[in-house]
Symmetry: C2
């Protein structure tokens, strides 16, 4: 506990723990196994690229949170989380990628030891850090426990940000702004995609205005020409071509907090197709942003966006936004609410979202997005980059 | 099929498919659900940052491989994989982060449709892209199937590299070399960690000698001073201090192929402790490298390394190496063999490994590693960076 560098006051972590426990109680869960790295970080501060092996934070009604991970990562816990020494439990390397041993069996034994073997145990069953084998091993070692799905239970608690979290998000917004500034400076026909990504990553990692750049949960995505039909491609060394559109989606990141932003550039004279799409997206976003008011719901934004698109003859079949905050690979979305039909999550001051208004078709696409905070009044944009098709002639 | 940019000849993909099918037959598996993104890429070329939602490649004894993923990612499949149009199957966004629908149920329905509902189905149960919920949904939708663990089944097929794969690995090696060159140029007391990482990432992304830099499966890890006790920490804006050791672990990457490498620097006059550790690690590596000969086993390298360490009074409790090649977040290890006691995997020409010889203690650590290829004769190092404690005075 003494050596850890914490990014929030201890009181904030205690408040988060309290929120988690209240949510557990409402769900009838005695003990929660938290495997999502973003949830682990939010609860305890734990940080490190160790999420490729089983690890978790265990929360009960009254015990101090317990960190469980690989032996070599225990020091990382000591240096980043507020967990006290006697609550740091590890497994040896014989459990790593073994066909016969599984770390989650060792966790099961600890849970029995601590007297929780007959509890109602919540697990994040759809977390990318809780494999089918993890669940089987845990369940087999806890024959008297009753398991309950607790996907997104912690994620929902993360929706409303604290003042310090908002400060980190604003820092991330300044960073993504600087990254787009750099793109606008260097983007030209002939430049290699990889050289361009090197430039914006350099700016993103150095950071700006005293906000240093942390690593993004997902590397920059881009789509040039027909590749813009696919939202999740990464770069090659292909030169940027003139007379075509290219979109970028990347995030500024500060202390694990993400501000994603997409923009589409056109090198040359834009086609009628892309200009039409730009008009539809911008009108739709304006309509959506006007509904982004405390008291409204997530689906109100989605409906306003879809409605405006429809008037231009466009359709968006995927959700048009999601909450942002702490992110770890493979994605920076908070995995709780979505801007889509049927999502009645009430917008509250302190919530942060990425309005992911991108459209993708057979051989083209367009992405112009915004990340913003819900406030008592109008939305607060986390970054200021001209919201339009950016033309470089 | 026509628009895809493939990184290997079609014949190489067909050979990989053949290897996969043979392994399936040996394991008694009729149909394999491949969820590990590196395995998907190896089998089909599919590439994209879409592994945060359910997706897979399905391999059977005779059907063409099937790609299954989110609707918006189908174009990414068309542009990166050799999968033909009628074998691209997608699910809609209503399945994304839903409490009631799961994409794997839709896959189950497809498997039934194609007449494989009563098959023996292999699943990568411990893959980070196959959650407990994924397995439950798949199993529930295939009540007549028999499921079998197929963890690492494809990973094992990836061990011996083809000539083109070796070329990509050598490119990655040149890139990591250039990244260390940059570190040596800019590392000095006072430089912020984030600025230093920006420099090496810039070089790593631009690439070198015609090899462009792809993104690493794991961002640079570093440990300065007491933080060197923890292997998986990332950077902050803390300034580098004089008179202490700092280690780095990062990879050069070309076309998804990784060459990881660690080095420890000392700014000032090294302490006796770090010099002793350096001597132990270098002697141990020399002993291990001498056993890295075709026909020997993975454990021979581990034993030689541990034996030499013991003579200096050091001990390594974690494995000391793993195979490398294609990597996707969260880690670049191939997840099959390990340099550790009991691993009798026979070394063969064309295998590539990261000799991860790092040592971590209570308040310090040291990492000096090598990535190499097994050949008919001596090992071929993938990069050439002085193998020693790098002192900057």
């Amino acid at each position: 506990m003494s050596v850890a560098t914490l990014r929030f006051e201890l009181t904030e972590y205690k408040m988060r723990l309290e929120k988690a426990r209240n949510a557990m109680e409402r769900a009838g869960i005695d003990l929660l196994v938290v495997t999502d790295p973003a949830n682990m970080h939010w609860l305890t501060g734990y940080d490190g690229c160790s999420y490729y092996v089983p690890q978790c934070v265990v929360v009960t009604k009254s015990d101090e949170p317990l960190w469980f991970g690989r032996r070599m990562d225990a020091n990382g816990c000591r240096r980043t989380a507020y967990i006290s020494e006697d609550r740091i439990k590890w497994y040896g390397d014989e459990y790593v990628q073994s066909d016969t041993l599984h770390a989650m069996s060792a966790l099961g034994a600890i849970i029995v030891d601590e007297g929780h073997g007959s509890s109602v145990i919540g697990v994040e069953k759809d977390s990318s850090c809780f494999s089918a084998a993890s669940f089987e091993a845990l369940a087999a070692s806890l024959p008297n426990a009753r398991f309950q799905k607790a996907d997104r239970l912690i994620n929902w608690q993360r929706l409303v940000k604290s003042p310090r979290e908002i400060e980190y998000l604003r820092g991330a917004g300044k960073i993504v702004e600087a990254m787009y500034q750099r793109v606008s400076e260097v983007l030209c026909p002939g430049i290699k995609q990889s050289d361009l990504i090197a430039e914006l990553s350099y700016v993103g990692t150095r950071g700006v205005d005293g906000y240093w750049g942390d690593y993004p949960a997902c590397v920059p995505n881009l789509g040039a020409g027909a590749d813009a039909s696919a939202p999740h491609l990464t770069w090659t060394d292909q030169p940027i071509r003139g007379d075509e559109a290219i979109f970028f989606e990347f995030a500024g990141v500060h202390k694990r907090y993400h501000c994603p932003l997409s923009r589409t550039y056109y090198l040359g004279k834009p086609t009628v197709q892309i200009r039409d799409a730009e008009a539809a997206v911008l009108d739709g976003m304006q309509a959506g942003l006007e509904r982004a008011v405390a008291g409204n719901c997530c689906e109100d934004i989605a409906k306003a966006y879809s409605g405006a698109l429809a008037r231009y003859g466009f359709e968006k079949t995927s959700r048009s936004g999601y909450p942002i905050g702490i992110g770890y690979p493979p994605a920076w979305g908070e995995n709780s609410a979505s801007f889509r039909q049927g999502d009645r999550t009430e917008l509250q001051p302190g919530m942060a979202f990425h309005f992911m208004s991108g459209l993708w078709y057979g051989d083209w696409g367009i992405e112009i997005t915004e990340s913003f905070l819900i406030t008592e009044g109008e939305v607060e944009f986390l970054s200021s980059v001209p919201r339009k098709l950016l033309v470089i002639d």
